[in-house]
């Protein structure tokens, strides 16, 4: 099933940021989202993940198929690495966390509390979570933040394996992952109108 985004208008904190965004993403493909800071990459990804509503437009093929990874990893400091992963695996109805640990070389850290990990290790754990969701569509917001070159390679391998398995990935990133992926620049879709049509407190004013 393809992801189709049609004529999407988006606002952040009441200010329109993007208008008329349309693209499609086929299974087995990745799409790299580019754009300067504040262009609306996070807003677009959160909307596709269902975390916020679009002003107008349609998204099809996203519901209940998405594994989202944002700026925060959703880790509990007082749970161990394997407990954190096992929790998400159970929530998504999966059994094994062994492959996910192996993909990001987390086995030696499995019994450590997540709170004692370094920033890069935490991010690796956050990305390993994607592997235990079993979801076909990955929506990733700056996944390589605080990763070293070796970990970025691990991540690129994981994405390649995911694509080879028929999955798809939508990634907002500034670095070159070495993936064979289309690049989608969102800066042409920047909203220029100064209307406050998307103000969240509209109803109360």
């Amino acid at each position: 099933m393809e992801l189709h985004v049609t004529d999407l208008n988006l606002a952040r904190a009441g200010v329109p940021v993007l208008t008329g965004v349309s693209f499609a993403l086929q299974p087995g493909k990745a799409l790299i989202l580019r754009g300067p800071n504040g262009a609306g990459k996070t807003t677009l990804l959160r909307t596709i993940a269902g975390l916020q509503d679009a002003l107008s437009g349609h998204i099809t093929g996203a519901e209940d198929r998405i594994a989202y990874a944002g700026h925060a990893d959703g880790l509990k400091a007082m749970l161990s690495v394997s407990e954190n992963l096992t929790f998400w695996a159970q929530v998504f109805g999966q059994r094994s966390i062994v492959d996910a640990l192996a993909a990001y070389a987390l086995e030696p850290l499995a019994e450590r509390f997540a709170g004692t990990l370094s920033a890069g290790q935490k991010r690796r754990l956050g990305l390993a979570r994607l592997l235990v969701t079993g979801r076909p569509l990955w929506v990733l917001d700056e996944p390589t933040v605080s990763l070293d070159a070796q970990a970025v390679a691990m991540f690129a391998d994981a994405v390649r394996a995911h694509l080879a398995g028929g999955g798809a990935a939508l990634i907002a990133t500034h670095i070159d992952l070495g993936l064979d992926a289309e690049v989608f620049d969102i800066s042409p879709f920047r909203a220029t109108t100064n209307t406050r049509a998307g103000a969240s407190d509209e109803a109360f004013l």
Partner: protein
């Protein structure tokens, strides 16, 4: 859902989980009351049901701002919304975990603390019954308050102000049931009303909580 319940219980029991917080607060309130009103046993036994209920309610209130704020800060809530678990169910489970780690210990420790307030011996059954029936409502309503204030930094004060009026019916009927039990009167009516309030909040509140949480996460 079981995974979420077990995770919340585990987090509550580990260091920094705040398991003992409500219990310690309840203990402090009840221990200090005899010092502040004086050692008149007759007076103490008159006010004991009200003090025990008020202490339990405030202790419950104290732990509410941890309920969702921690999950919001580390991004877990965002991931939870995109997970296959319905948000209504997830919030019900979180309320249950909150009750198991806050409400239930209060219910169990209340008879012991009642002794310190010279609580009438015949009323213990009613005291425990009223707390056991009433405290789940406190957790469920508290989850709603936590969902409402989730995006606000240090929203604890706002949370308390929003939740307090919703706690009033539970407090009135709970304390009344305990008072009647202690006085040797029939406490069935307030207990039934209390149970009614609790069942209604358990049935309705998760939907309200999930709705306001979805708005709060935008």
């Amino acid at each position: 859902m079981r995974a979420l319940l077990l995770r919340d219980l585990r987090l509550a029991l580990r260091a920094g989980g705040g398991f003992g917080l409500a219990l310690a607060f309840f203990l402090i309130v009840v221990v200090l009351v005899p010092f502040s009103v004086g050692p008149q046993t007759a007076l103490l036994s008159v006010i004991a049901p009200g003090i025990l209920w008020l202490g339990a309610l405030l202790a419950c209130l104290l732990s509410l701002d941890r309920l969702l704020a921690l999950d919001f800060e580390d991004g877990t809530l965002d991931l939870m919304v995109t997970a296959p678990l319905p948000l209504e169910a997830a919030l019900s489970v979180k309320a249950l975990a909150h009750w198991l780690t806050t409400g239930l210990p209060l219910v169990l420790v209340a008879p012991v603390l009642g002794l310190m307030l010279n609580f009438a011996p015949g009323g213990y059954v009613w005291l425990v019954a009223s707390l056991a029936l009433g405290t789940p409502a406190l957790s469920v309503i508290g989850t709603f308050g936590a969902a409402l204030t989730v995006g606000i930094k240090r929203g604890g004060l706002l949370l308390s102000l929003l939740v307090l009026p919703l706690y009033v019916p539970t407090l009135i009927f709970g304390a009344e049931a305990a008072r009647r039990g202690a006085a040797g009167l029939d406490a069935t009516t307030p207990l039934l009303l209390l149970a009614g309030i609790t069942l209604a909040t358990i049935a309705c509140m998760p939907f309200a909580s999930a709705t306001v949480l979805r708005m709060g996460l935008r």
